[in-house]
């Protein structure tokens, strides 16, 4: 083995806090060879980001680093700030999670890249510009010349992350640290960025330290893997060994919790049950004010002609990328926004155009579980008060004792200790907060439960627990469930049928089993291809048919078929006419070439 580029030995990071020292990283050791990709995976709070920050010498004021970090033969721990600064950006570069907040909104792309070049390589003017162009081309940015004069907000998320990577590579660093580089991106764009990183590693020979919570991402990109928990290294080794032959209990647990695309789908146990929800041709449009005194507001078609029905005990999965209208669908069904047209029929009652105070009667039958579990709870109310609130609204005559009994029952049902009802939300973990949210939603025994990205903000092990809780509750209570997620793999675990949306329109609606085995719409295929599979052998040999480019702005969607700008099967007709939803076997698909592709 050649000499290590980076050698970390007994690294400890501690933070002095009011509650005493917090040990964020404990005795971490690892080596990284030149050109190698090491993945650090772990759940939130596992210390993976702090370990990387220590390598960069970026520590909060109350942080203390001890141990040894040798980079290219020289010791980084205890180095002066000025010496560190020369290494940072030059020999070690960093790509952050959110490209919008790590780019300066007041500088053009060219100016930001120019700063790095002047600082580290002394390049100015035309030479600097030429160098910027070379790198923007290397990261496959279309039309790089005009991008140089653009500001970050004028670029899409994927494009911004490409700019970040190009900036990081300006000085040809020996080591690139990427901290969750694709977490904030849509899954199709994530696949593009990961492909780009693999390509750049070949052409530039840069070693990469990839920090991620997503084992699928790690499987496809890394040579070796380091699993962290509570600041300690749990397992370290070649990627194949870690995935196929994990040695520690924790690594096994983590792997088991990851949702997979090739899992069994749940069986629909309720054959011909009561129809809970019937939605016909639902559309929601928002006027978007334009700058300028006389500018007409633009119409944003957030949801366009969606029809579906749902029976008791059935789960409908809704998937799509950002801007696909899946959250708007949830809010229109629950009458949190008033639909522009179409009907929403809940248990035989038509809700779409009712005034708010009449909708309220139906609220006890339909409930929502939110994405961010902590934000969905009032920070100034105890969880007991929060869970009791719907009950107080609909059954105001309940005595205090009955109320407490019902709250305790609801808390037990979701696996929370009723003794905790006097605690505040911030005292709970994310998973526990989500259980509180579910308890609140279920206390009125609703018929329809809508989960809007309900597990997306949670760690994989917690995610798996919440998913099985939902499955169990559904089986016991016969709930009709709408489960919205951007993650196809999670949706698979729960759904009997799946609705695929893109820019407010339905692309495909099919039985889950059929959809995952035989996706018919090109967009569904592109989505499936983009989902990273947590299996390094499969993931590295998989041929991916990726969607090109980014999701267009919902304010100016392409005419005809919405997906045509990114579709590999596009023909002339796609631009001229919008394809209707047609029945193909048991599925319904909106594509002109559904019979051919």
């Amino acid at each position: 083995m050649s000499q290590a580029l980076l050698e970390v030995k007994d690294l400890n990071v501690t933070f002095a806090t009011r509650d005493g020292p917090v040990h964020a990283v404990k005795d971490l050791c690892f080596k990284l060879a030149p050109g190698e990709v090491l993945g650090i995976v772990g759940e939130s709070g596992s210390g993976k980001t702090q370990a990387a920050m220590a390598v960069l010498g970026l520590m909060a004021d109350n942080g203390r680093v001890s141990g040894s970090i040798r980079f290219e033969g020289s010791e980084l721990v205890g180095l002066r700030e000025s010496a560190l600064r020369e290494i940072r950006g030059d020999r070690i570069a960093m790509v952050f999670q959110d490209p919008m907040t790590s780019l300066n909104p007041y500088l053009t792309v060219g100016a930001q890249m120019g700063l790095v070049l002047r600082e580290h390589r002394g390049l100015k003017g035309d030479a600097a510009k030429a160098e910027c162009l070379r790198l923007l081309e290397a990261v496959h940015i279309t039309d790089p010349v005009s991008r140089l004069t653009m500001y970050p907000h004028e670029l899409s998320g994927g494009m911004r992350q490409r700019v970040m990577i190009a900036t990081a590579l300006l000085c040809q660093p020996a080591l690139l640290i990427a901290d969750e580089p694709t977490t904030a991106l849509d899954v199709t764009v994530q696949a593009q960025i990961l492909a780009l990183m693999a390509e750049l590693r070949e052409s530039f020979g840069t070693a990469i330290l990839l920090i991620t919570h997503d084992l699928g991402v790690a499987a496809g990109t890394c040579d070796r893997l380091l699993v962290m928990k509570n600041g300690e290294c749990q397992e370290q080794g070649p990627i194949d060994a870690c995935f196929h032959n994990p040695k520690t209990e924790y690594a096994r647990e983590l792997l088991a919790a990851v949702p997979r695309l090739n899992e069994e789908v749940p069986v629909l146990r309720f054959g011909n049950s009561e129809r809970v929800l019937q939605v016909n041709d639902l559309a929601v449009q928002y006027p978007v004010e334009q700058p300028g005194l006389f500018a007409k507001p633009k119409i944003l078609r957030a949801l366009d002609g969606v029809s579906l029905e749902l029976r008791a005990g059935e789960t409908l999965g809704v998937v799509g990328e950002s801007g696909s209208g899946k959250s708007t669908l949830a809010r229109a069904v629950l009458r949190l926004v008033r639909p522009t047209s179409g009907t929403v029929c809940l248990l035989g009652r038509e809700l779409a155009q009712l005034p708010e105070n009449e909708v309220r009667e139906s609220r006890r039958d339909m409930q929502l579980v939110f994405q961010d579990p902590l934000a969905a709870l009032d920070p100034r109310m105890t969880v007991g008060e929060t869970i009791a609130e719907p009950l107080q609204v609909f059954e105001p005559s309940l005595s205090d004792a009955d109320l407490t009994a019902r709250v305790s029952e609801a808390m037990l049902q979701v696996g929370l200790d009723p003794e905790w009802r006097n605690r505040y939300p911030h005292q709970f973990s994310g998973g526990q907060c989500q259980r509180v949210g579910i308890a609140r939603a279920l206390i009125l025994k609703p018929k329809l439960l809508v989960c809007d990205e309900a597990v997306s903000a949670l760690d994989v092990t917690v995610q798996a627990q919440i998913v099985s809780l939902l499955l169990e509750l559904q089986a016991r209570l016969g709930l009709a469930l709408i489960f919205i997620s951007h993650d196809l793999a999670v949706v698979r675990r729960l759904s009997h049928r799946v609705l695929v949306m893109y820019l407010g329109k339905v692309m495909e609606l099919a039985d889950a089993d059929e959809l995952y085995r035989n996706p018919k719409h090109p967009y569904t295929r592109a989505l499936m291809a983009a989902v990273p599979i947590p299996d390094p052998r499969l993931e590295k040999t998989r041929v991916k048919a990726l969607a090109k480019g980014d999701v267009p702005s919902p304010l100016a969607p392409p005419g005809g078929c919405a997906f045509r700008t990114r579709c590999e099967y596009v023909i002339e007709r796609c631009g001229a006419e919008e394809p209707p939803l047609v029945e193909v076997g048991t599925a319904r698909v909106a594509c002109w070439r559904v019979w051919e592709v």
Partner: protein, 314 residues
């Protein structure tokens, strides 16, 4: 009852992506409310408790002092003009330029200043929160109309309003309350509206709507408690401001009338006699300063106490 299995979540408390702080175990499990919790936390805040005790003593002193004092606050005594303070001579704080006992007058002035400070602020607080929270929460056209009304009232010159009221109703201390309250609630309404607009976007408000909670109840149970932090800070800034505004009005001759007095009046009178009789400035100014300090510390303490997130750290 449904089949309930007592199976408690296996996750460890301090994990989770939202970085929930630890400390859950140290919290007692007795039934609690926002207010009883706030009181518990406030009691542990030494600065705030000291401030509250000092304020309490001040109020008692101000109420009882003039009653038990042997001197009259209003009657001039031509034999004892500008007597310096002494422990033995009878005039603890000395006398003013009309020979009136300064101790009695300082306490009388305190009655008025504290009353104006607290009452005007409470008035502006109630109107401001109700107006701002309603405008912000309902939004749209209602919000625009309500906020334009605020803008129009802002445009009225304050002095003009005071003089107008004086002309219409004659000089009256009540009018000062009205005038100050009428101006101050505008600021409060704006601040509260801005905060409400932000809160309205939060998911827990949407969660309340999904639960069928009516708008009025959402404002009272969810919006207002979450506004308290900002409001309390603003109140601690407003009380001193109101006390100063009153002294300014009195200085112009629009406020309280002799022989009635307030700290503001006494400070401005004392300032003129600063060189010959500094005690005439020092005593009322010291009382005013101590009061303002106390309100500030108490406000800080209240803000922390009303935020459950800050509690676990202590």
């Amino acid at each position: 009852m449904t089949d309930v299995t007592p199976r408690v979540a296996a996750e460890a408390a301090p994990t989770g992506p939202v970085g929930a702080p630890t400390g859950a175990t140290s919290i007692p499990e007795a039934p609690r409310s926002l207010w009883s919790d706030a009181w518990l936390t406030l009691r542990q805040n030494r600065a705030a408790m000291t401030a509250a005790i000092v304020l309490g003593l001040l109020v008692v002193l101000v109420l009882l002092g003039p009653v038990v004092s042997t001197y009259d606050y209003a009657k001039p005594n031509w034999d004892e003009i500008a007597v310096p303070p002494s422990l033995t001579g009878g005039h603890l704080f000395g006398t003013d330029s009309l020979g009136r006992d300064l101790f009695t007058r300082t306490l009388m002035g305190g009655r008025l200043s504290l009353l104006i400070g607290i009452v005007s602020t409470l008035v502006s607080l109630v109107i401001g929160i109700a107006w701002g929270a309603t405008a912000g929460f309902i939004g749209g056209r209602v919000d625009r109309v309500m906020m334009r009304i605020v803008d129009i009232l802002y445009a009225l010159p304050f002095m003009f309003l005071v003089i107008l009221l004086m002309v219409l109703f004659g000089r009256n201390i009540l009018l000062i309350f009205v005038a100050i309250g009428a101006i101050n609630w505008l600021d409060m309404a704006r601040i509260v509206r801005g905060q409400t607009l932000g809160l309205k976007q939060r998911e827990f408000i949407e969660a309340a709507r999904v639960s069928g909670v009516k708008p009025g109840r959402i404002i009272l149970r969810h919006i207002v408690p979450n506004l308290l932090g900002v409001v309390v800070v603003y109140v601690t800034l407003t009380i001193p401001q109101v006390i100063l505004v009153e002294s300014f009005l009195s200085f112009l001759g629009l406020g309280v009338q002799e022989p009635m007095t307030s700290w503001g009046v006494m400070v401005s009178d004392g300032a003129m006699e600063m060189e010959n009789a500094p005690w005439m400035l020092v005593f009322p100014a010291a009382f005013l300063a101590v009061t303002l300090f106390c309100f500030n510390y108490l406000g800080d303490g209240l803000r922390d106490a009303l935020d459950p997130r800050d509690r676990s750290g202590r």
